[in-house]
């Protein structure tokens, strides 16, 4: 027979656990804001894409580092397959990163990293995507799609709309619904500026979980390529208070869609052979 005290404490523990280990939504989900975000999510982002990515990493002393990547992506149903070959600097040349980004929120992504210096392909097991992507101010979560069901969306309470660089935007809070999402992305909440004409998020401000940083993501160049809107230049600035801690300028060149990529492209075999 169970101790009565045990029986008494179990419900308290459950309540404590729920209250203590979950992030209560700061605002209730606003259906109108959600509709906008659903349109953002539904916007055509192309298929069979190839591109050359250049990242300029600038530290607070102004020292620059450059990363160059040749990237491929292909849709497989609702899932997205991505393959990246690192080209620069010399010591990471031919390193390859393969990701199967599953649409199913209950299924973790598959990731593999090929390290040519070690002649080895290593499986990466990490639902924590808050780590820096190649030393940039982007995280792995910034490189993968987000699940709308993981967030509450509400309009910014002080200004539902705002003009940014002459373009009308909706201003929307994106608040993670669980602590797990915060841990996975590294962001406590985000303020998104969504262009009203094409449903593109042209600015985003992320409250970073660790270190008290804010991250400003600013689309500087938005191009229509093969009928698809592509952010070909983005500046990501990590700040603490008013001080810039680090900055990344991300440029996409040679963006092409409908390149007829085959699924065999997105394999460990291809990673190891290079592109």
């Amino acid at each position: 027979m169970k101790d009565k005290r045990t029986l008494f404490f179990i419900p308290i523990l459950i309540v404590t656990a729920i209250v203590g280990f979950s992030v209560a939504p700061a605002f209730a989900d606003d259906p109108k804001a959600r509709v906008i975000m659903e349109k953002v999510d539904a916007r055509d982002d192309g298929d069979n894409q190839t591109s050359d990515m250049e990242m300029i990493l600038i530290d607070k002393k102004g020292k620059k580092r450059i990363r160059k990547i040749h990237a491929f992506s292909k849709d497989k149903g609702e899932d997205i397959l991505r393959l990246m070959f690192f080209q620069h600097p010399a010591d990471v040349r031919d390193t390859a990163f393969l990701t199967f980004d599953y649409d199913d929120p209950d299924k973790d992504d598959d990731q593999w990293l090929f390290l040519p210096a070690l002649k080895k392909t290593k499986r990466i097991a990490s639902t924590d995507k808050s780590g820096s992507f190649m030393g940039s101010d982007l995280t792995y979560s910034d490189m993968t799609s987000r699940n709308l069901e993981d967030y509450d969306y509400t309009f910014y309470e002080k200004a539902k709309e705002k003009e940014v660089n002459g373009v009308k935007t909706w201003v929307i809070w994106s608040t993670p619904r669980s602590k797990e999402v915060v841990e996975e992305t590294g962001y406590e909440k985000s303020l998104l500026f969504v262009r009203q004409d094409n449903f593109f998020v042209i600015r985003a401000l992320h409250w970073v979980r660790d270190g008290g940083y804010k991250k400003y993501m600013d689309i500087k160049k938005l191009d229509l390529i093969d009928g698809i809107w592509v952010a070909t230049e983005m500046h990501v600035t990590k700040k603490k208070g008013k001080n810039t801690a680090h900055k990344t300028i991300l440029k996409l060149n040679n963006v092409k869609f409908n390149q007829g990529l085959v699924f065999d492209m997105f394999t460990v075999r291809r990673m190891e052979k290079g592109f």
Binding site: K60, R65, K119, K158
Partner: protein, 513 residues
């Protein structure tokens, strides 16, 4: 007894050091959670997108952010509100990035490489006795040039030639007379052909690769169980990871792919063994020279063979391995064919059947390997062969941002063990247990990586151990420095005999191009 106490002292010191470093690693260097300041207005937030308005340490950021404002004003690059109707107008031309128009075809050939200077400093040795080598202070000052020429003929055909040359000036500085010929011959100058191969696809599903290459088997990162094909450079153990130490061999490799599975058949034409510490080096365990080593030649009859089957699936991978190969480690054997009878070092032919499996769940990666290896020979049991069963389990955790933690453990069990094998010179154990723990974290946007590695033989290092704490820092995209300390603990295993005084600091600077 004195020696044992000394070993114990070193083990204690090593453990204390490891714990201390771990504490620093996780308490001081891991940032704790903080919370953002609330209550900013939208205008304040928007102002922060404009760095010039932010007043962000203008003295240091001014040069870097020069033009940031101009870009802001250059709204033409961003499709403005006025452009919107045009952008959706059927007659509107698409905007193409300028760079799309000048696609440069890369050259077939590319040359890359690095030049590096590495040094080690022994700080724990005592003043030598008369006639002994003075091992205090500088033990390595090695300049190394690595070159790699790649030819990419198509997406499926490529070739590589690589090699390195190195000169260690520590011996000239300390006096070459201080060292044995074995040490000078193998450490002072080195020229080696690296990976040199041609690779292509015979069909859509069949690849071939011929030449000097490295084949990595297994899932473990720090311990070898099924990874038996390529030898290692073990001359200065503990300084770098096993991953960096593999020596290439000339092989013909065929890979056949079908769905999630691949089948590899390998013939190893070049017979080559580990580079072990030479007689006279500070890692050579005893003061007498080793007997002659009878190395099998790289002829057709000695060809090594290997087969692997690999399956890669969502969340898990599995591999099966078979290999018929020479043992990288030698055993001593009495040779009666001449007068007087002598002792030689020989390499037994082994057969290995193994499997490796890993599964990813959340932030955890579980790794397992198992191998059954037949054909071991021992001096104390002439004419008899032994088999060994190796079982490894490991866990890797990547749930802390920019951090990887891993632990791996293996037990190597000699089947049908004979007590005579415990005697010198075999000094074998029925069960040889090894575990490693590793913590690695990136800082400063991946420019700095701190790594702690503990590798221990026996439960608490009674068979030998080492700990390495290292830091790798990218000064620029092309220049990297590495530095750290390696602490050794002597133990019962032959390779760990009398090495507790070899504790050293190391520093390496590398320019890559």
């Amino acid at each position: 007894m004195i020696k044992k106490n000394r070993h114990s002292k070193h083990r204690t010191r090593g453990v204390i050091t490891a714990v201390f470093v771990l504490l620093i690693f996780f308490t001081v260097l891991l940032p704790g959670p903080t919370f953002a300041v609330e209550g900013e207005t939208l205008d304040e937030i928007l102002n922060s997108f404009d760095d010039k308005k932010s007043g962000a340490s203008a003295d240091t950021m001014q040069d870097v952010l020069e033009g940031f404002d101009d870009e802001q004003k250059d709204a033409g690059k961003i499709t403005t509100e006025d452009d919107i109707p045009e952008c959706f107008d059927d007659d509107t031309q698409e905007i193409e990035p300028e760079s799309r128009k000048d696609e440069n075809k890369p050259s077939i050939f590319s040359l890359s490489g690095d030049i590096q200077l590495g040094t080690s400093y022994n700080y724990a040795h005592h003043k030598p006795e008369e006639g002994e080598t003075d091992r205090r202070g500088l033990s390595r000052l090695r300049t190394e040039l690595n070159l790699e020429l790649n030819a990419k003929f198509s997406s499926s055909r490529q070739a590589r030639i690589s090699g390195k040359g190195a000169y260690d000036s520590a011996y000239a500085i300390k006096g070459r007379d201080e060292f044995t010929d074995d040490v000078l011959d193998h450490y002072e100058k080195e020229f080696e052909l690296g990976e040199t191969y041609i690779q292509g696809s015979l069909t859509n599903r069949l690849d071939i690769k011929f030449g000097r290459q490295v084949v990595v088997w297994g899932k473990s990162d720090n311990i070898r169980v099924t990874d038996v094909l390529n030898p290692l450079d073990m001359r200065e153990p503990g300084i770098t990871d096993i991953e960096d130490l593999r020596l290439p061999l000339t092989m013909t490799r065929l890979d056949y792919y079908i769905g999630d599975w691949s089948l590899a058949g390998i013939a190893v034409h070049e017979i080559r063994f580990n580079k072990n510490p030479e007689y006279g080096s500070d890692f050579y365990p005893v003061s007498i020279a080793p007997p002659h080593e009878d190395k099998p030649g790289s002829d057709f009859d000695n060809t090594e063979y290997a087969v692997s089957i690999n399956g890669i699936f969502s969340k898990w991978d599995i591999s099966f391995y078979w290999a018929d190969y020479y043992n990288d480690a030698s055993h001593l054997q009495l040779v009666l064919s001449g007068l007087p009878p002598g002792i030689e070092r020989r390499h037994a032919r082994l057969q290995m059947l193994g499997t490796a499996f890993n599964v990813a769940t959340g932030n955890w990666l579980l790794k397992t390997e198992a191998a059954w290896i037949e054909g071991f020979k021992f001096f104390s049991s002439p004419g008899k062969q032994y088999s060994r069963t190796d079982i490894l389990a490991g866990l890797e955790y990547s749930g802390f941002t920019d951090t990887t933690l891993s632990i791996e453990a293996v037990n190597r069990h000699v089947n049908g063990f004979d007590e005579a094998l415990k005697l010198a010179p075999d000094s074998a154990q029925q069960n040889e247990f090894q575990w490693t723990a590793r913590a690695s974290r990136n800082y400063l946007n991946d420019t700095l990586t701190l790594t702690l590695l503990v590798s221990t033989f026996g439960g608490i290092g009674e068979d030998g151990a080492y700990q390495r704490f290292s830091a790798d820092y990218d000064i620029t995209d092309f220049i990297q420095i590495s530095t750290g300390v390696v602490l050794y603990s002597s133990g019962d295993l032959a390779v760990f005999k009398n090495i507790e005084d070899n504790d050293r600091l190391f520093f390496n600077i590398k320019y890559s191009f």
